[in-house]
């Protein structure tokens, strides 16, 4: 009977909570896709997770672990909402580019983490944190590039932390500029045009990921 009482109480609490409108912060990814004659991007998708908002008064929201799949072909995916508990002026936002390791060992997941989304490796379990495909002209020749950056374990880990401090104070929305060309150039500078497996190279390339995000 005690168990039943607790369950009813929990149910009431749930209802109580859902009637309040939860304040949230909009995070908008503005992807630069001005394809030049040199570079053509065909696929661009990545995960962003573990958002944490920091306010100008120094306080921080709890980390929101949800993983969001951002896909250049899906406009709605570029706009995500991070729930907050208070409406205060935001100083900065911290997040993880990619998925955290716990997510990668948690079995079958749904929503943005559904393996059907093409961002999951079955043979070496884990998420592709960042996928960028296309082609570019190198020494007059059309050269394809294919970057599938993933891996979560130890040295193979490819998720990277990013912190963005806002130039202009905002209360409810944050724009993040995303420039995939920065990554393409960086990868080319180390002569990498194709990465399809976790490993040292993927982890090295992952170090270039934070640079593509700015405000």
């Amino acid at each position: 009977m005690t168990l039943l009482k607790i369950q009813i109480l929990a149910l009431l609490l749930c209802f109580g909570k859902s009637t309040q409108a939860q304040p949230s912060v909009s995070v908008i990814f503005d992807i630069d896709l001005t394809n030049t004659s040199d570079v053509k991007i065909e696929t661009f998708r990545f995960y962003a997770s573990n958002f944490q908002i920091e306010f100008t008064d120094g306080t921080r929201e709890k980390i929101n672990v949800t993983c969001h799949l951002i896909d250049m072909e899906d406009k709605e995916s570029l706009h995500i909402k991070i729930p907050t508990t208070s409406i205060k002026t935001i100083r900065s936002i911290n997040y993880l580019i990619g998925t955290d390791s716990l997510t990668n060992i948690s079995g079958a997941l749904e929503g943005d983490l559904d393996p059907i989304k093409g961002m999951y490796w079955a043979w070496n379990s884990g998420y592709i944190n960042f996928k960028l495909e296309g082609n570019r002209i190198v020494s007059g020749k059309k050269t394809p590039f294919e970057y599938h950056i993933g891996g979560y374990n130890g040295d193979q880990a490819t998720s990277r932390k990013k912190s963005i401090t806002l130039i202009k104070s905002e209360n409810d929305s944050i724009h993040i500029n995303v420039n995939p060309y920065t990554f393409i150039d960086a990868a080319e500078s180390v002569n990498e045009f194709s990465i399809m497996i976790p490993g040292k190279k993927a982890a090295q390339l992952a170090d270039f990921l934070p640079d593509i995000f700015s405000n």
Binding site: G107, P115, N124
Partner: protein, 328 residues
């Protein structure tokens, strides 16, 4: 809410009935995938459904046959659609919920995501999750079955994978003659007793009772097969020290699961024992430390050991109708 608490306690009852007494805690306990009779049956339907493969020709059971411990007897490597061949011996599906990784290279880290591999692999079912889900979503029969398990007719990847897991995770073999001997229900012959003693001394450190496997990835010193060039664990970690390391498979039902080793190179148990006693090079780089000491068994001892290994056959498991193709 009352219904919910009832279903929860019956779920726990199902799981605790499945786990043999004195066995270690399973790694996977269906935490987010409440085990139910309907879920098990749905998983079984999916396991035996040829529509999961691209050309609708093979089901999971093609490479994992119950009578042979859910492996493909007499086939060195797995066979897929259109006669395509893989590079590894299809593993047995026995006591999987005690495993913390799956596949010979341990590349799969969770039982729920394991089945994505054979479904997508070009040399196996060569299908896509999208195709599989769209097939299931069009079937009124599956819609009804999914709603019985999950409460509504939504058929998602997660539900599909979890349903299969309810079946594969329930494949528990714990009633071999060895188990009956342990429970003091039967007596072993003198030869079987000798074999058990030899097993404990020479084999149990890797193939550890009661599961007769370990979750370690080890090199047993087998030279690489130059056709497959399979480096095992190395393909996952790309670390030299992981070259030729494979999961240590269970020996339960070993009598019926031939051929043996990751590439099925040995047909007979006596060939396996000959390998460990005569052919194994103890100087092999990255060899399992447990194999550095030479195993020596004379021909009588080898026979005794085999007599013991045959006690690991669990006929109840191999012929249990509950695990068989669901005939209407």
């Amino acid at each position: 809410m009352i219904l919910f608490s009832f279903s929860k306690s019956s779920k726990e009852a199902i799981l605790s009935d499945m786990i043999p007494k004195k066995w270690p805690e399973p790694v996977y306990q269906f935490e987010n995938n409440p085990l139910s009779e309907e879920g098990f049956r749905l998983g079984r339907d999916l396991f035996y459904d040829v529509n999961l493969s691209r050309d609708k020709s093979i089901s999971c059971a093609n490479c994992h046959l119950q009578y042979t411990g859910f492996t493909h007897v007499d086939h060195k490597v797995s066979h897929g659609i259109e006669g395509r061949k893989g590079t590894r011996n299809s593993p047995v599906l026995i006591n999987l919920i005690w495993n913390n990784s799956f596949h010979w290279d341990g590349g799969v880290n969770h039982i729920e995501v394991q089945s994505i591999n054979p479904i997508k692999h070009p040399a196996e079912m060569d299908n896509t999750l999208k195709n599989v889900l769209s097939y299931l979503q069009k079937s009124s029969n599956y819609k009804m079955k999914f709603s019985r398990v999950f409460g509504d007719t939504i058929i998602s990847t997660k539900r599909f994978l979890q349903a299969i897991t309810q079946f594969t995770g329930s494949l528990i073999s714990s009633n071999s003659r060895y188990d009956q001997y342990q429970r003091k229900e039967i007596e072993f012959s003198i030869q079987e007793k000798k074999g058990l003693k030899l097993f404990k001394k020479n084999c149990n450190s890797c193939h550890t009772a009661p599961l007769f496997n370990s979750n370690n990835l080890e090199s047993n010193g087998l030279p690489i097969d130059t056709i497959f060039n399979d480096l095992g664990r190395y393909t996952i970690t790309q670390l030299k020290k992981d070259s030729m390391k494979f999961r240590v498979p269970t020996l339960r039902n070993i009598e019926v699961t031939f051929p043996y080793m990751h590439d099925g190179r040995y047909k007979k148990l006596r060939e396996v024992i000959k390998y460990y006693t005569e052919e194994l090079n103890t100087k092999t780089t990255y060899l399992s430390p447990r194999l550095k000491r030479k195993i020596s068994l004379n021909s009588n001892e080898q026979k005794d050991l085999i007599a013991f290994l045959l006690t690991l056959t669990d006929k109840e498991f191999l012929y249990n109708k509950r695990f068989s193709f669901p005939r209407k």
